[in-house]
Structures are given as C-alpha cells and as structure tokens.
Symmetry: C2
Subunit: 427 residues, 2 copies
C-alpha cells in the first residue's frame, strides 16, 4: 500500500475518480444505517428478558431486611442492591448509594447540587465568578453538555494511551482553585476504549488541588464490559487508592447497569467516601421519597451476585466481539498503511475511536450521512462540540446487526478515503 | 356531653384522674402502632400485583410508535403513557411529560432548575437577593422542605374550606415580585382533604403576579383518589382555566401513580403549557437520557385507560373507606361536643386533619408516642416545622390494619382528652 501523502497529483486524481464512482454507486442504494449511538443491539436486550418474570407469580417482594419493596421506605437502596453494585464497583456496600435509572442523572444532580449548595459545606458554585472543569479529550459528549449547561468553563486535556495527560492535570488543578472537577471514563473510555494505567490512577489519587471542593467525576460506565475473557484491561480501584493517599473525599465514582440489563430501565449507583455520601444524602432526602426498589429487587433476583453479572457480561461479549473485530479488521484491511487515519482496538466498552487526517472528520461524517450511514456528529467528543483538529470520529458498532455494520463500515472507509484524497488535492 | 371548658376545676381533676388511669393501662400494653405516614396498606399494594406479570412471557415490549422500550430513546414519555396520565390529569397528551418514579422529584428539580437557570428566560433565582413562596397551611411537609432547602422564604397562607385565603394570595403576589411560587394540593388536600372550590381555581387562573416568573405548583397528588363513588369532590381543571384567562404559563401541574400502583415504583408526570414544557425539556435532555420506559409500558398495559384507573381506584376506596369512617366515627363518638378539637371528614385523599386546642398538638403527639402510637410530628404541616398555634395534627389512617387503627385511634382520643384537661387545669 502506498501512503496517500506520497501519491502524485495524477495518482490522487485517478484514485478520486475511482472512489467517486464507488461512492455514487453506494448512494444509489439508498441505505439507512446507524453507527451513531452506544446502544445495545436487540440481541443483547434479549439476554435480560428473564428480568420481566423474576418478580412475577407472587414472588416475595420484601428485601432482606423485611421492607416491602412495593411501598415507601429505604431512601438510599436496599441492602442486596448495595451489595451487588458494591461488588460491581469494587467497594464495600456502605460506600454505595443506589439511585434511579440513570447514572448520568446522578452526575447532573451532583453538579446541580454543587451549584446551589456547594460541596461539603464549601461555597455554592453559583456564588463564584468562575467555575472550570477539566475535560479529557476525546470524551463523552453528555458529560460535556452537563458542564456547559451550568456555564462551567471546560478545559481540554489530551488523552494518552494511559489516560489523561497527568502532567497537565496536576499542574492545572494545583494552580487554579476555580477548577472544581474533571470528567473521567477510566475504563474502556468513551470513545477510545482506553483504560487508565496504574500510574495514572495513583497520580489521580495523590492530586493536590488548589480547590478543596475539587472532585474527580469517575464515570466507571464500562467496568465489567469486557470483549475478551482472556484479554481484559484492569483498572486500579480509585476509592481505596485515594483513601491510602489521605485523599478519601476527592472522588465520586458512578456506575449503572444501563448496558448490563436495559438502558433506561437499569439501576445506577454512586460510590464515595462516607463524608461525600452524607452530602449526597442531604440532597436526596429532600429531592425524593426514594428510588424504584422493585427494580432494584428485580436486578438482584436476576443477577444474584458478581459472578452472575460476569456470566451475563460474557454473553454480551459474545454478541459484541464479532462486531468490534469486523470493524477493526475492515479498517486494517482497507486503511492500513495508507496514512489517512488511525483507530483504537479496545478490549471492552462500546466504542472505537477513529482519527482522520486533520480537518477531515466533519467531511467524512457528512459524506457518510449522504450515503445513508449516520455516525456520531463530528466534534461531539469535544467540549462545545469543537474538535480543534476536526479529526476525531466515534464509531459505535453495537446497535446495528453484523450485516448492517459490515455495509456501514465499508461505506465509512470509502468516505475516509474520498475525503482524504480531496483534502490532499486541495492542499 | 359537657364541654371541657365549662367544667369546674373539681370536675376536671376527677376527669384527669380517670384519664390518667386509662392512659397508664394503655401504656402498660406496650403497643407499637403507626399512624404517621401516608403509606398505602399491604392490601392496597396487593391490588397491583398484576403489574409484576404484565410484561412477562415474552410480551411485545415496543411502544405504539414501534420504539423498543428496553433500549434508549424517547426522552419525554411513550405516547400511550402520555395519553394515560394525560387522561388522569385532564389534559391533552401534548401537554404532558412523563418522568421517573416520583413527582416530588420533579417538583424539586423544577425549583432547582429555577434556581440555576431561571424560569423561561428570567433571572435565575440564585442571582436574586430574595425568593419567596406562599405556603397554604396546614400543608404537605415535603413541599415545605424543598423550598426551605433552597433558602426560599416561606409565607404562611391560611387554608379555608374552599382552598387558600385567595384575598391574601392575590394581594401578596400582586405586590411582591420576590414571590415566585405557591405550593398547592388542590384536591383532597394534605392534610385536610379540602378540594379547592370553582371560585378558588378561577381566582388562581386570573392571578396577576408582580413576578413574571411566578408559578403555581399544583400538586394534584390525589386527583382520582376518591373514598366514595357517590360523594366525590370535583376540581376545575386549572390548565384550561389559565389558558382561558390568558395566563397559560402560570401553572405547573404535577401528578403520579404513587398511590395508584406502587409508591416508589410508579410513574410521574407534569402537565403545563407548551412554553413551560419546553423549559422542562431543555433541562431534562441534559439531565438524563430518558426515564424508565418499561415501567411506563407496565402501567399502560396494566391500567389500559382512564376507566381502568377509575376501576382500580374503586378497589382502593373499598379498602380505605372503613378506615377513614372508623376514625371519623371514633372522633365523633369520643370527642363530639367536648370542645377540645375539630377534624375534617374528607371524601378522598390520604389524611384526616385534627385541630386540637391551641398549644396542645405537640403534647398530644408526645403522649401518643409514649403510649406506643406514632403520629406525624406536630408542626410538620407548617413551614419550618413551626405551627404557630401548635394545634394541627395529621392523622394518616391508611397504613395500619383496621384493628390496629381502631386501637391507635382510641389511644389518640385519650391523649387528646388528657392533654386538653391538663391544659385547662394549667390555665
């Protein structure tokens, strides 16, 4: 394979002609394919259908302390749900609060609470002139939208293969007390599938922020979402690491079963120090009379324990592995050696991250759309939707069927090629 | 019956001796009874057990527009749930947003949103020196706790048999632009069981508040919670009334199925003008990826339509009627004509409100507790927990069995008598 950048103008023009024709043919097919969202496939949802039955037939609906889960009571989670999500989060149940159906909602409410009531007695952020968050990029668009919504200034921190650039993180948080938080997806990160290294986690735990109310928003969304039994990433448990470093209050760890059971009908949890959890509880005991305990019970009865969760996740992996491998193989086969893109090969999570040539991401996504393939909007992985290099594209291979995904990936690589040729010709 | 106030000191002393002895006997029984909370009884929860089965056996889990309710998507409610809760709220589905498991949570978030983002483009309340809410009293403690939590000053407005004192409401809201809201439970109010009259609703709809971001928080928690088929209260639908008055944006109407299906596992909704709903949506689309659609589907499949809801509520009424009637009959039999208390006789809802002699509520509740009967804390029905006359006691007859309730009511009337005698003797 010859690198596109080493091709002569004539070679590029010839190539463009060929690609244009392929593209015209694809467009003529009038396809409608979707690689845009981290949604489980229908086959994955089918794995949890037993949950629809598990409380039926006059099952005992009391939790293990005898509370009737059909009635009011138990504000922060039934004990067995705390144990299950505690195991999933690798912390003691006493460090867990169970929430409703969405960990994103918990994160949003945590920022909202910090705005109006401050963090553990510190000045409410809405009383400050300036509040800033660090945003490892590329990252999760919904995180960035929360901080944007509250008028919080976002500062990009580049991701590396071992996590965010920790030199930069350490420097910024130690110098600027307006920096109140950092968004992290530490395992199988969205969108790159990177797992933070041991050193990265240790450096997070030992941060010395200028702001006493600085918190790490540790969104462990993909903690057990492996693709390979024998090729898993391992993430150091951060709560313990922070406690060891005398920094127990610096982190909030979020998790949910959204991509274990059902998106939108799962259960969410936060794990944190007892002092932080008190802060959460003060808010939630005014905010709600309690979350859905029947759904908590439904999850516990269905998954039973951590072994049950892992067994279930292996079934997800069996369905997802061929999709991820097909995409990565196609990228390798079609784009390998051309010098017009790089991509990640994650061991878990929901995404593959693609780096196009600078200035090409928007054009690739637009071309794909024109040919009937919806990708995540270019720029979405950056705060304010602004990818400074216009190069990152998030590929979400989970929702389409394998057949649809094959077609979509073919079209995607075609759009990458065509856009790259056009870019080089325009230079 | 002789009024206590007309008794001589000797008569009161003789009576006290007798009551003291009865009280000692009751205490010796070491009872443990609970009349404190508006919780459905176990028999009521059993009415909805069919919901545990309704999505089982590989039921079709798509909503009527074909969206798979097990996956992400549909932020503001599946159409059939909007229709069901729209019918329950007497508004078109297009004026409805479906939320999670708790309408209290929606109210809290509405205040939180107003604090940080303001109401329909107006100044966020956190930027104002002073924000005030009107609180019809006695009222619902959890409403008052929300406004207290956000540092909002609460102003008591007396309840009358037709709703809040509207002369006072009209005067205050027209004069003071710091007044941003009023808490209302307009039907079978908590705790008095009062339903606002037609005139009251019309006056609410025609309010001319000084603050353009003033909103009526219309918590229609007991809209279909009748005790009698043939003796129902009727409440004028306020959204329509406000629209007619050219005041469409002045009201938020909240509802939920907490006391229809399962407390904590129901579905909640808000009904409001389209402009207001846009405000809600802007917030919720950042706050969450969506609420639990499977639970929405579960409710629709189980209740089907408004007729189904009404039929179900008649079953609740059959279980609750004997409890309410027994309490009211006992109060009448034991306290009628004694001039030491007054009480309401609601046609629906979850509470009976008792007015003891001034300065006696705390003592009655303390005495009942000593004898093993837990009542709602005296003062809870007032902002800041401060009942200025120390007279209101909320009776919650729903949770205990009829037998327990009989015993608890006997003890309650005994405590009222004893406290009243002591009060008169001390004067």
């Amino acid at each position: 394979m010859k690198k596109y950048s080493e091709m002569s103008r004539e070679e590029l023009l010839a190539l463009k002609k060929e690609l244009d024709q392929q593209y015209a043919e694809v467009k003529a097919q009038g396809l409608s394919l979707d690689m845009s969202r981290g949604k489980p496939g229908t086959d994955q949802l089918d794995l949890s259908m037993g949950m629809m039955e598990v409380l039926a037939n006059h099952a005992d609906l009391k939790c293990e302390t005898g509370v009737d889960c059909r009635n009011y009571g138990v504000i922060d989670g039934i004990p067995e749900a705390k144990r299950l999500l505690g195991a999933m989060s690798e912390v003691d149940p006493e460090h867990i609060i169970i929430y409703g159906n969405s960990s994103l909602n918990v994160m949003f409410d945590t920022v909202a609470r910090s705005m109006t009531h401050g963090v553990m007695g510190h000045t409410p952020w809405c009383k400050l002139d300036k509040v800033k968050f660090l945003c490892p990029v590329p990252g999760y668009d919904r995180h960035f939208k929360i901080t944007e919504f509250f008028g919080i200034e976002m500062i990009n921190v580049p991701m590396t293969p071992t996590g965010p650039d920790m030199d930069m993180v350490e420097k910024l948080v130690s110098e600027d007390d307006a920096i109140k938080g950092i968004w992290c997806v530490p395992k199988y990160s969205n969108p790159q599938g990177i797992t933070y290294s041991k050193e990265t986690v240790e450096r997070f735990a030992r941060l010395k922020p200028a702001a006493p109310d600085f918190r790490i928003y540790w969104d462990n969304a993909y903690s057990i979402h492996h693709l390979y039994e024998d090729n898993q990433d391992f993430l150091v448990e951060i709560l313990g690491e922070c406690a060891k470093a005398g920094n127990a209050d610096i982190v909030y760890k979020f998790t949910s079963t959204s991509k274990v059971s059902f998106p939108g009908s799962g259960i969410a949890a936060v794990a944190a120090s007892k002092a932080n959890l008190e802060d959460f509880r003060k808010y939630m005991q005014i905010q709600t009379i309690g979350h859905d305990k029947l759904n908590q019970l439904r999850h516990v009865r269905f998954f039973k324990d951590l072994d049950g969760l892992h067994a279930h996740m292996r079934k997800h992996a069996e369905l997802l592995r061929p999709k991820f491998e097909m995409v990565v193989d196609t990228l390798e086969k079609e784009l390998g050696g051309l010098g017009i893109g790089e991509w990640t090969k994650p061991h878990g999570g929901y995404f593959i991250s693609f780096e196009a040539m600078d200035g090409c991401a928007k054009a690739v996504v637009a071309k794909a759309k024109e040919a009937g393939v919806v990708m995540t909007g270019a720029g979405a992985t950056y705060p304010y939707g602004k990818d400074p290099k216009d190069s990152n594209i998030r590929i979400a291979p989970t929702y389409p069927t394998l057949e649809e995904l094959e077609k979509a990936t073919e079209i995607f690589v075609l759009c990458v090629k065509l856009t790259s040729v056009e870019k080089l010709l325009a230079e």
